[in-house]
């Protein structure tokens, strides 16, 4: 664990990313305290620029506080990012594990199934799914999970294929352990590092997908989200730039920090690779 932190903190970008991420998390947790009441309520004059009327980041066309929207939107974005990633991991890891461990015909079938999902443009499929199931937080999470599991399945399968032929797995086989306990006890723990790295990047892309869906008006109508804020500010961007720019910055910072953290995790989990990449001594 100590080694892990030393290697992680060696990558300065990752530390900055982690700090930003923690800040966003705190903002999300404290949103009801900082901005009590619904973010949909009018808080002041419409179109108030940042800093005026006591509004830190200005108000939108109906006089709603943009800062309150961003704080409450952080909850939705992080929630959707985390839950849909967990769901995608569950699908991807189990299918990848089955394909990689059993191999042969099962592997072929599962991989063709995976390719089927990979060949459909993921965003179009997500829009379709949300439109069919009516926009709600659950259907958004479902749609994002459905379009983002294939890479996980591929990574896990590749790891399993190479680990399966390792001697320690064969030794477990010879000891007579059951398939499930070999997969869960022997192979999975050794395949964990690429999964952890991948999942931090998946949270980032899930947040982007959710924002894009909300931008198109397919967000949960009862939940304030960053994508909705940008979408509603789009038509008045020339007279009220702050309505789109601040939520945009929020998305940008969150996604960037998740990517940085992902890279730091990858360095910390594969210290050898990181050192070969050179750069930091």
């Amino acid at each position: 664990m100590k080694d892990f932190w030393r290697n992680f903190s060696r990558n300065r970008g990752a530390v900055v990313g982690l700090v930003v991420l923690v800040a966003v998390l705190i903002l999300a947790v404290l949103a009801p305290v900082l901005y009590p009441g619904s973010p949909w309520d009018m808080a002041g004059m419409p179109f108030a620029p940042p800093g005026e009327e006591g509004m830190l980041l200005g108000t939108d066309s109906l006089g709603r506080d943009v800062a309150a929207g961003i704080a409450h939107g952080a909850r939705v974005s992080l929630l959707v990012g985390a839950v849909s990633t967990v769901a995608a991991l569950a699908i991807g890891v189990s299918l990848g594990a089955i394909a990689g461990y059993l191999g042969g015909l099962v592997d072929d079938l599962v991989m063709r199934f995976t390719e089927f999902f990979q060949t459909i443009p993921s965003f179009v499929l997500a829009i379709l799914l949300v439109a069919i199931f009516t926009p709600s937080i659950a259907s958004i999470v479902f749609a994002i999970a459905v379009v983002s599991w294939p890479p996980v399945a591929r990574v896990v399968r590749a790891e399993f294929l190479s680990l399966r032929s390792r001697e320690f797995v064969q030794a477990s086989e010879v000891l007579g352990k059951s398939r499930l306990s070999i997969v869960v006890g022997d192979i999975l723990p050794n395949a964990l590092s690429p999964i952890v790295v991948l999942s931090s990047l998946m949270v980032a892309s899930a947040i982007l997908l959710e924002s894009a869906l909300s931008f198109l008006g397919l967000g949960d109508p009862n939940m304030m989200s960053w994508g909705f804020l940008i979408g509603s500010g789009r038509s008045v961007i020339r007279m009220a730039w702050w309505m789109s720019v601040f939520p945009g910055i929020a998305i940008f910072l969150t996604v960037l920090s998740l990517n940085l953290v992902g890279e730091g995790l990858s360095d910390a989990l594969n210290p050898r690779l990181a050192r070969n990449r050179g750069g930091k001594p």
């Binding site: 001697e167 064969q170 010879v174 007579g176 352990k177 050794n190």
Partner: protein, 537 residues
């Protein structure tokens, strides 16, 4: 004789945090033209660092702290990169250990040799010289070999190409860093003979790095023995091999498998394992184009009696590992019967196999890959018995007993595999297999990845445990000396089939099959019998 190379009190520092301060310390040696100096030592003794210092190939993290290296009368440690380059290849050349990766896979073999000539301004001669060089290393049909890419050549052929490349400019000094370690015995013998022959013809000085005393006996004029970065003993080969002085040299030579069979109790024929008509084929390709079918195992019948050790010997790709894996069902053969106490194991389901898992166990080759890096040693040893319904408490006491049996400290239970050395890990693997209290133990090259002194310890341990527990053992190895030492009977495998099977003395003393004879002729240093040394401990 002209003095070619002198290394005088060379000290190379290791980076901070390494297990010792210097990779090489106060090292002095010399090499004359026309002689072969073998530098012998176990892994980590600093022999490769010495070679790399002479070639000017030290990694940047290692610095020469003291000493001089004189080559053909001039000191080469202070030379510029430019000056070093003009000597490298032209006056001194190097052959590396791993022929599979030392050649550029995208370049034709002939072009790679020609390149060596070009960089030293002799590109115009390349056309004539390349086939000549390839012929000089006894490669058949040099013209067509020159047009091939490396992937079409075998390991031995690639090593010949490497040697041809090193010899292209007729260097005065050739450094060979374990050039035959990655090769099969028969190929190794051919390469050793070739190097000896070329060295005599050209009068080169050769610095030959190896860990194998058999190779030393085969090729060396003089020997330098290294331990922990120091030369502990140096002298003519016959002196070192037959009358070693330093305790470490004595220990190493005593550890060389002597190839002499031990006193063995008579085996009564009571079959534990009978293999009948087992066949395994691998197919490649399909869909488009013809399928390539490789018969990995065929015609490999044998019977293993209770209390007996049968050695399966053969070169890489002979199918010995595949055959052994068929017995524990890591490989599923298409045909044949695997009779264990008269019961055919082949058609059994995964469930049906379970009772036999306890009775047949396996020890693997690579001590670094055969233990789960994320599991404590104690858990690794106890998980087998626990899977089979032994209570955790009992499994734990058994594991502690076993650790004592394989001569490890009980504290090992709570540690992770990476905290142990290769030999210790191999003993953990043995304890894991023995925890199941098997009758039949399959040992797949259990000592091939270990240094010779550690190898001797593990072999002794195996012999002792086998005796004490009355184990029946199937022992797979490519090293005939090891096989001779531990096995009651030997089965020689070639291309998937057992070509000769008989009692150890008979196979070694009066081999019937030509392949067995070829194998025996290829044991490096077969004319040298390690001296019987009095205990020096």
């Amino acid at each position: 004789m002209t003095r070619l190379l002198t290394v005088d009190s060379l000290t190379v520092a290791l980076p901070q945090g390494a297990d010792r301060p210097h990779a090489v310390e106060e090292l002095s040696l010399h090499l004359d033209a026309g002689e072969i100096l073998c530098v012998v030592g176990e892994s980590g003794s600093g022999k490769s660092i010495t070679a790399n210092t002479v070639m000017g190939l030290l990694p940047k993290t290692l610095k020469v702290k003291a000493g001089t290296v004189t080559f053909e009368g001039e000191s080469i440690l202070g030379l510029s990169a430019e000056a070093l380059r003009s000597r490298r290849g032209r006056r001194m050349a190097m052959v590396f250990q791993e022929p599979m990766t030392a050649l550029n896979p995208l370049m034709r073999v002939g072009d790679q040799i020609a390149e060596a000539l070009q960089v030293h301004g002799k590109g115009s001669e390349a056309k004539a010289r390349v086939p000549e060089l390839l012929a000089a290393v006894n490669l058949p049909d040099p013209a067509s070999i020159a047009r091939m890419h490396p992937f079409r050549l075998s390991g031995g052929q690639r090593q010949r190409v490497m040697i041809a490349m090193a010899l292209a400019l007729e260097p005065a000094l050739l450094i060979a860093d374990e050039p035959t370690t990655a090769l099969d015995v028969t190929t190794q013998m051919q390469i050793l003979r070739l190097m000896r022959e070329i060295q005599e013809r050209k009068g080169m000085g050769v610095m030959f790095i190896t860990h194998d005393f058999g190779v030393v006996a085969e090729i060396a004029d003089r020997v330098a023995v290294m331990q922990h970065g120091r030369i502990v003993e140096q002298g003519p080969a016959s002196d070192i091999l037959n009358a070693p002085q330093h305790p470490y040299t004595r220990k190493l030579i005593a550890a060389v498998p002597h190839g002499a069979a031990l006193e063995k109790p008579a085996i009564r024929p009571s079959p534990v394992l009978v293999m009948k008509g087992v066949e395994k084929t691998y197919q490649r390709g399909g869909w488009f184009g013809p399928k390539a079918v490789v018969k990995a195992v065929h015609d490999a019948d044998f019977t293993l009696n209770k209390g007996e050790t049968l050695g399966l010997v053969g070169e890489s790709g002979s199918g010995k590992s595949t055959l052994a894996r068929c017995v524990v069902r890591l490989v599923e053969p298409e045909k044949g019967e695997i009779l264990f106490h008269g019961k055919d194991l082949r058609p059994l389901s995964r469930q049906g196999w379970l009772p036999y898992r306890k009775r047949i166990q396996m020890v693997f080759q690579d001590p670094y890959a055969s233990l789960n890096p994320r599991r404590k040693v104690g858990d690794a040893i106890t998980e087998g018995p626990i899977t089979h319904g032994v209570s955790p408490a009992e499994a734990r006491t058994r594991a502690l007993d076993l650790l004592r049996l394989v001569k490890l400290d009980p504290s090992a239970m709570e540690r992770y595999p990476h905290e142990f050395s290769g030999g210790q890990r191999q003993r953990i693997g043995l304890a894991r297999a023995l925890a199941m209290q098997p009758e039949l133990l399959i040992a797949d090259e259990p000592v091939s990845a270990l240094d010779v002194s550690v190898q001797a310890q593990v072999l002794d341990l195996l012999a002792e445990i086998r005796q004490r527990l009355g184990l029946t053992m199937l022992f797979i190895t490519h090293d005939l000396r090891v096989a001779a030492q531990i096995c009651d009977r030997i089965a020689v495998m070639q291309r998937g089939a057992i070509v000769e099977l008989g009692p150890t003395e008979q196979v070694f003393g009066a081999p019937q099959h030509p392949y067995t004879r070829a194998l025996l002729d290829s044991i490096p240093g077969r004319d040298w019998t390690p001296p019987v040394l009095a205990e020096t401990a």
